[in-house]
Amino acid sequence: MQVTVKILRYNPEKDEKQHYESYQVEADPTDRVLDLLEKIKGYQDGTLAFRRSCAHGICGSCAMRINGRNRLACKTLVQDLNTTKITVEPLLGLRVIKDLVVDMEIFFEHYRAVKPYFVNDEPPPEKERLQSPEERERFDDTTKCILCGACTTSCPSFWANRNYLGPAAIVAAHRFIFDSRDRAAAERLKILSDHFGVYHCHTIYNCTDACPRGIQVTKAIGEVKKAIMTGSLD
């Protein structure tokens, strides 16, 4: 079938403003949007820039707005969109470097701000630290995050104020806060209860709807808020 792909383009070396360009592409219903972008780049316009690597939704490179919502281009099939008109735009709220490529630096800065790493200074046992399957299950959902940025850049609170740490950073913190082996929960909760932390979240839920990994992002944020309130990590 024939589909029209409308792309919000911007070449910093030529353009002053972003503008749309449309391309006609022959596509199968089971083609990924990424396949269409590759075809456009390969056969119609080599200047088109976007990021991609794994092509099956595991590396987090290709998050972008597709028909008005954040998704991974490699995990969105043409048939999922129920239309032959596809609009592709870069993520909102980040500086556009070129076409669909955005500057992720703020995003990673926020990630680094929440101590997204395991902390436990007690001398480790000779073998593994023990953890029951239930304790492991407690934070399973948030270990899935691939840092694609789809959540944070779909959040109206982040659009309003880019100092807000954003859902991805909170998800990263959640993964450690609820890990029974970790010892820095209090420090992370302190960071998150500060001005640009969880209280900027108004449970808008765009993040959860956007997450290509199906992570219950808003729930994770809610659990962090509750942990701050009750002091309990159960």
């Binding site: 820039a49 590396c59 490179s61 000779e126 023990l130 029951s132 399957p133 934070f139 270990t143």
Partner: protein, 596 residues
């Protein structure tokens, strides 16, 4: 052009690169360069598990792991290196756990383990639970954990810097040249030691589980600097890729009891590997599948088969095999168990095929997966440049891009993650120690020239050829003619095609002449790498007149230890590929026939 100076430069930020960086940065000033954001590396795609004989669920030992790996390699693996890796594996998995890696757990709180192809109890010959896993996203968790530790330790990263050239001065590594994607500027990184950890080159084949970024940059850059490539003819085809897309369905599916089924509804692996059946090593299973499909037993006569992990099927065959749980009760699974252990796989199948593995079988076909060969190194991860194992000072390689060789002619599942962690770690330590005892080589004034020339040639090329068409033809050729089965004739044909494509490559046309994020230019440069490697692969494969591991020739169906128990080294010169050979290190295990 900017110049930077670090004692150690790590190229690549996948599992091997990050592990090296963690170790090196504790000892010396270290920079990590990666063409992708580190967490976008392909290590994140690894699903099934990392092999280590922890023996958490049943008896196991590093010796058995060693033997299985030697056997899996079809005796081409260097046994000293394999033994080293399998013993280190245990400690390194604990080290990962101490870094916070969220492994799945056994009921008593220890690291959970599952079965994987080729891993056996050496006494009974039955599959053993050796693959430590975190659901089916083990690689993802390894990559995330290592990256997190790098953040904790403040490692210096240059994200989205693509390395184009290696600087060699006085026969020693002196740094690299890289392009910064965001600006298009060339940077020279002056270093005492360079570690290559750039991953594989599976994008050479049409159906592949590999990422777009898997274009063999490290090996190609080294080849252009006179460093040989080892054993490129051995490229693993994984039995179970999603039909047409190549996306991988982990061997863990079969570890949990899934079986391969042909059009007649037979579990055909019974015929090819009577002992371990569906859990034979990958080369064996992929070949069996090809034979089934060639003999018309593909599903509906098509080029795919079914991988069936529906609970009723699993339970049926588990009962036939007499499979039991550790406590002796019969092995039984429910739909929920499958969902809990293989969530990602289920998600892939639903997303890309609209198939729900819990109620329907999955259409699969073999998919290009893993490079056993690569930049030759010794057991200390130092790059060696000739048949006598002469070391190039200051140059190290680890991970899929390197060939130690621990995988020989065929890698066992879960052994690559072991490889990247164990040898990545040692590369970091050894490189940093070397750097502390060495001084900087003087930097040539024209350090970036060769890289710039390569780019300029592409930018100024005046032809009409489309890179994507050349790429597609190459992939097609390699998959059909230098794939699971090979013959003299097919490979000769492939070689001619590749040479034709290389000529056409000189006449490609680029649209993008800008500097900022010119991905068209870099993709074209990567295509050049793939073409070089395709040529080397084909020439190496043509020369090897035997079948061993992943290299199976229909015209020479037998393994020939008398003539071919040796590693290929291939140099890429002005006038083509030159081959040499070096012996395999054999310590304890004499080659014998491989049956599963």
């Amino acid at each position: 052009m900017k110049t930077h100076r670090y004692e150690v430069v790590v190229v690549g930020a996948g599992g091997a690169g990050l592990m090296a960086a963690l170790q090196a940065s504790r000892r010396a000033a270290t920079a990590v360069l990666s063409k992708l954001y580190p967490i976008r590396s392909h290590t994140g795609a690894a699903q099934g598990g990392i092999g280590a004989a922890l023996g958490n669920l049943e008896e196991d030992s590093p010796e058995w792991h060693t033997y299985d790996t030697v056997k899996g390699s079809d005796y081409l693996g260097d046994q000293d290196a394999i033994e080293f890796m399998c013993h280190e594996a245990v400690e390194t998995v604990y080290e990962l756990e101490h870094m916070g890696l969220p492994f799945s757990r056994t009921p008593d709180g220890r690291i959970a383990q599952r079965r994987f192809g080729g891993h056996t109890n050496n006494i009974t010959g039955k599959p053993v639970q050796r693959a430590c896993y975190a659901a089916d996203r083990t690689g993802h968790m390894i990559l995330q954990t290592l990256y997190q530790q790098c953040i904790k330790r403040n490692v210096t990263f240059f994200d989205e810097f693509q390395v184009l050239d290696l600087i060699v001065v006085n026969g020693a590594a002196a740094g690299v040249v890289a392009i910064e994607l965001a600006t298009g500027e060339l940077h020279v990184f002056h270093a005492k030691a360079v570690i290559f950890a750039t991953g594989g080159y599976g994008r050479m084949w049409e159906i592949t589980s590999n990422a777009y970024a898997y274009t063999g940059d490290g090996i190609a850059v080294a080849l252009r600097r006179g460093i040989p490539a080892e054993d490129l003819e051995f490229f693993q085809f994984h039995p179970t890729g999603i039909y047409k897309l190549g996306i991988l369905i982990t061997e863990g599916v079969r570890g949990e009891g899934g079986v391969l089924i042909n059009d007649l509804g037979e579990r055909f692996m019974e015929r090819y590997a009577p002992h371990v059946k569906d859990l034979a090593s990958r080369d064996v299973v992929s070949r069996a599948m090809y034979i089934e499909m060639r003999e018309g037993r593909g599903i509906g006569g098509q080029r795919y088969l079914y991988l069936d992990v529906r609970p009723e099927t699993v339970n049926k065959y588990a009962a036939i095999d007499g499979r039991t749980n550790p406590d002796g009760s019969p092995y039984q699974v429910t739909a929920d168990d499958i969902m809990a252990k293989l969530p990602e796989i289920i998600d892939f199948c639903r997303t890309y095929m609209g198939v729900d593995p819990v109620t329907e079988p999955m259409p699969v076909q073999p998919t290009a997966h893993y490079a056993m060969g690569g930049i030759p190194t010794n057991i200390r991860t130092e790059v060696v440049i000739d048949e006598q194992n002469t070391v190039m000072p200051g140059l190290y390689a680890a991970g899929e891009t390197a060939c130690v060789s621990v995988h020989g002619a065929n890698r066992l599942g879960t052994n690559s993650l072991v490889d990247i962690i164990v040898f990545g770690r040692h590369a970091g330590i050894n490189a940093a120690e070397f750097a502390r005892g060495a001084s900087f080589q003087p930097l040539p004034s024209d350090a970036a020239d060769f890289a710039r020339q390569q780019l300029d040639r592409l930018l100024n090329s005046k032809g009409k050829e489309r890179p994507i068409e050349i790429a597609n033809e190459m992939k097609h050729t390699m998959f059909d003619l230098v794939g699971v089965f090979r013959t003299e004739e097919s490979m000769q044909q492939a070689l001619e095609k590749i040479r034709e494509l290389k000529e056409r490559y000189a006449y490609i046309q680029l649209h993008d002449h800008g500097k900022i994020f010119n991905t068209e230019l870099l993709t074209a440069w990567e295509l050049g790498n793939l073409l070089d490697l395709a040529e080397v692969t084909t020439v190496s494969a043509l020369a090897r007149k035997e079948s061993r591991g992943a290299h199976s020739r229909e015209d020479y169906p037998e393994r020939d230890d008398e003539h071919w128990l040796k590693h290929t080294l291939a140099w890429l010169d002005e006038d083509g590929v030159r081959l040499g050979y070096k012996p395999v290190v054999i310590t304890k295990y004499e080659p014998k026939e491989r049956v599963y």
